[in-house]
């Protein structure tokens, strides 16, 4: 089965680069949906087809439900593109590529793949987590940040799947539910933010902080 796993993991690398390189929100959502779909498949492949149920739920939530919600939020807030990312798309791709190479190199050098189902999985998990965090740091739109968070979460899932961790069904579902609710709340918040700030630029969210200014606003 490892050949399938390797194919999936290799395509995940490409998805990561795609995520870093695109400024269209639609593309990003589609990429993250595809990523969710592949990651949903991973446990199935690694464990030899035991957990059909959880796989289906996973794919349904990560590959379908959440992308739909994000698309809905995107339409509601009328945003199509990530206009001025803090790090440009070309540079982003380069950075993610460098991170990918580095994590592969480190994992190879330190021989930590010994018990892992496939030697690609651990470096890929690192890369995906890094991509998610990178998106959160370098993108301005609230939706992109949510996408970044999803990518980050997916990275953790890759790792979880690759070490064949058995949480038990309940906890698996719990984790999934938490992530889902989180994205749901974030989606609502995006809508509220766009209404209150008339934009979903995260840079507009900088009223709070300690820069010696005085809060005189009344509630």
């Amino acid at each position: 089965m490892n050949i399938f796993a390797d194919i999936i993991l290799a395509s995940l690398v490409i998805i990561n680069l795609r995520l870093a390189g695109s400024s269209r929100l639609g593309t990003l959502i589609r990429a993250v949906a595809l990523q969710g779909f592949f990651i949903g498949l991973l446990p199935l492949i690694f464990t030899g087809g035991e957990h059909w149920g959880i796989t289906l739920i996973n794919i349904a939530v990560k590959g379908v439900l959440m992308p739909i919600m994000l698309t809905y939020a995107m339409k509601k807030t009328n945003t199509k593109r990530e206009l001025e990312p803090l790090v440009g798309c070309g540079k982003s791709v380069a950075i993610i590529f460098a991170i990918t190479l580095m994590s592969f190199y480190f994992c190879e050098a330190r021989h930590i793949e010994a018990e892992i189902a496939t030697r690609l999985a651990v470096p890929l998990a690192f890369t995906t987590i890094a991509t998610g965090l990178f998106l959160i740091i370098s993108r301005r739109k609230a939706i992109t940040q949510v996408i970044g968070f999803l990518v980050f979460e997916n990275g953790v899932s890759i790792f979880g799947a690759s070490i064949a961790m058995e949480y038990g069904l309940l906890i698996e579902l719990g984790i999934l539910l938490d992530v889902f609710v989180l994205v749901f709340i974030l989606g609502i918040a995006i809508y509220d933010i766009s209404r209150t700030f008339s934009s979903i630029d995260i840079d507009k969210l900088n009223h709070l902080g300690d820069r010696g200014h005085i809060h005189l606003r009344r509630h």
Partner: protein, 374 residues
């Protein structure tokens, strides 16, 4: 008493206190339904976090606390509170995600990186610097009882999570773990001190004070301070901080501003609240007869010399910042031009703070007397 039971008890007491206070502070209206649904759920999630032994299960519960408390923070539904909620959600979720990653690494036998991610992840939730950045925003924007609950209960629960992982570490890694906790604790203390000096917002001030105490708790834990002292510190901090946040909420209600410079002469306008505020701030700074006074002395006695010195200096800076605020708000009539008018507030709002103070005082008086005679 084990730590989890203690934290469970504290959480319960705080829940009772905050609920009673909410009856007067929030009231039952149509728009407060969500508040009344989420508050017990939030409490339930915290109880779950204390009770579930399974590490991944605990993770689920703690993530649930984030989700359930986020709308509570956004209760006022202003631009600022929305911003606070957003930051809270993003930062804490990343933190919690890291904690999950850490848990996985940990379970797979990679203890050091696993512990680092767990520490960072739950440390985010606990408010250890430099992962604390959501905390001042969320605490200052949430309504009084919610801030009290967040600060007094939630932070402890996350701390509990860290201790569980620390206990599972094999012998050879414990030194590193303790050192890492100590470093984060000291840094939290430092960051709190830095932001408390010249603070302009009294709720943020309390938030930073929470960071300070989380730092202290981390330091005590990492130095294997006496259990009694360590647990007393947690309990006393939670009680006092609840009282302070409730009083701060009342002041916000009366003055309509969180700006320290606009509040003057509490001693003449709101006598009871002035006394509560003064006592609360003195207590949280570890002045006698607060239990924190004894626990901080306990810390100094058990810590290495340089840690003790650094902690005392930073605590002094914190005291300098907080006492300046207390004096500025309580004494004098001040400059009429810039000060806000106080609206009268219901006496019922002072029930819980007074009770908290009395309980704190009584419980610890008895505890310490017993301890000394034993």
């Amino acid at each position: 008493m084990t730590l989890s039971k203690l934290i469970l008890a504290i959480t319960t007491i705080l829940f009772v206190g905050c609920t009673i206070h909410s009856i007067f502070y929030i009231g039952f209206k149509k728009r407060t339904i969500l508040y009344w649904i989420l508050l017990p759920l939030f409490f339930a999630a915290m109880c779950a976090a204390c009770l579930i032994e399974n590490l991944a299960g605990m993770w689920v519960a703690i993530e649930a606390t984030t989700l359930l408390s986020a709308p509570l923070i956004c209760y006022h539904y202003t631009a600022e509170s929305l911003e606070a909620m957003w930051k809270y959600l993003i930062i804490c979720s990343i933190g919690i995600g890291l904690a999950l990653f850490g848990t996985l690494l940990f379970m797979n036998g990679w203890y050091i990186p696993g512990f680092v991610f767990v520490l960072a992840g739950y440390g985010t939730k606990m408010g250890l610097a430099p992962f604390h950045t959501w905390l001042p925003d969320a605490h200052s924007e949430a309504p009084g009882p919610v801030s009290a609950f967040l600060s007094g209960a939630l932070l402890n629960c996350s701390f509990l999570a860290i201790t569980r992982f620390r206990d599972l570490l094999p012998e050879e890694h414990i030194v590193f773990a303790d050192n890492a906790i100590l470093a984060l604790g000291l840094f939290s203390l430092f960051i709190a001190a830095v932001f408390i000096v010249r603070q302009t917002d009294y709720k943020r001030l309390l938030a930073y004070s929470s960071i300070e105490h989380m730092g202290l708790i981390a330091i005590m834990y990492s130095l294997h301070a006496d259990d009694f002292i360590f647990q007393s510190h947690i309990a006393a901090h939670s009680l006092t901080k609840m009282m302070l946040f409730l009083v701060a909420g009342n002041l916000l209600l009366a003055y309509g501003t969180r700006n320290i410079a606009s509040v003057h002469g509490l001693g003449r306008t709101m006598k009871l609240h002035a006394a509560l505020w003064m006592l609360g701030i003195l207590f949280i700074c570890g002045m006698p007869p607060s239990a924190l006074f004894f626990t901080e002395i306990g810390l100094v006695c058990s810590a290495p010399i340089w840690v003790a010195s650094v902690v005392m200096v930073l605590l002094f800076v914190v005291f300098a910042g907080m006492s300046k605020v207390a004096i500025g708000m309580i004494f004098g009539q001040g400059d009429k031009l810039h000060s806000a008018e106080a609206k009268p507030i219901s006496w019922t709002l002072s029930i819980v703070p007074v009770l908290a103070l009395v309980v704190h005082f009584l419980v610890f008086a008895i505890l310490f007397l017993c301890c000394f005679y034993a």
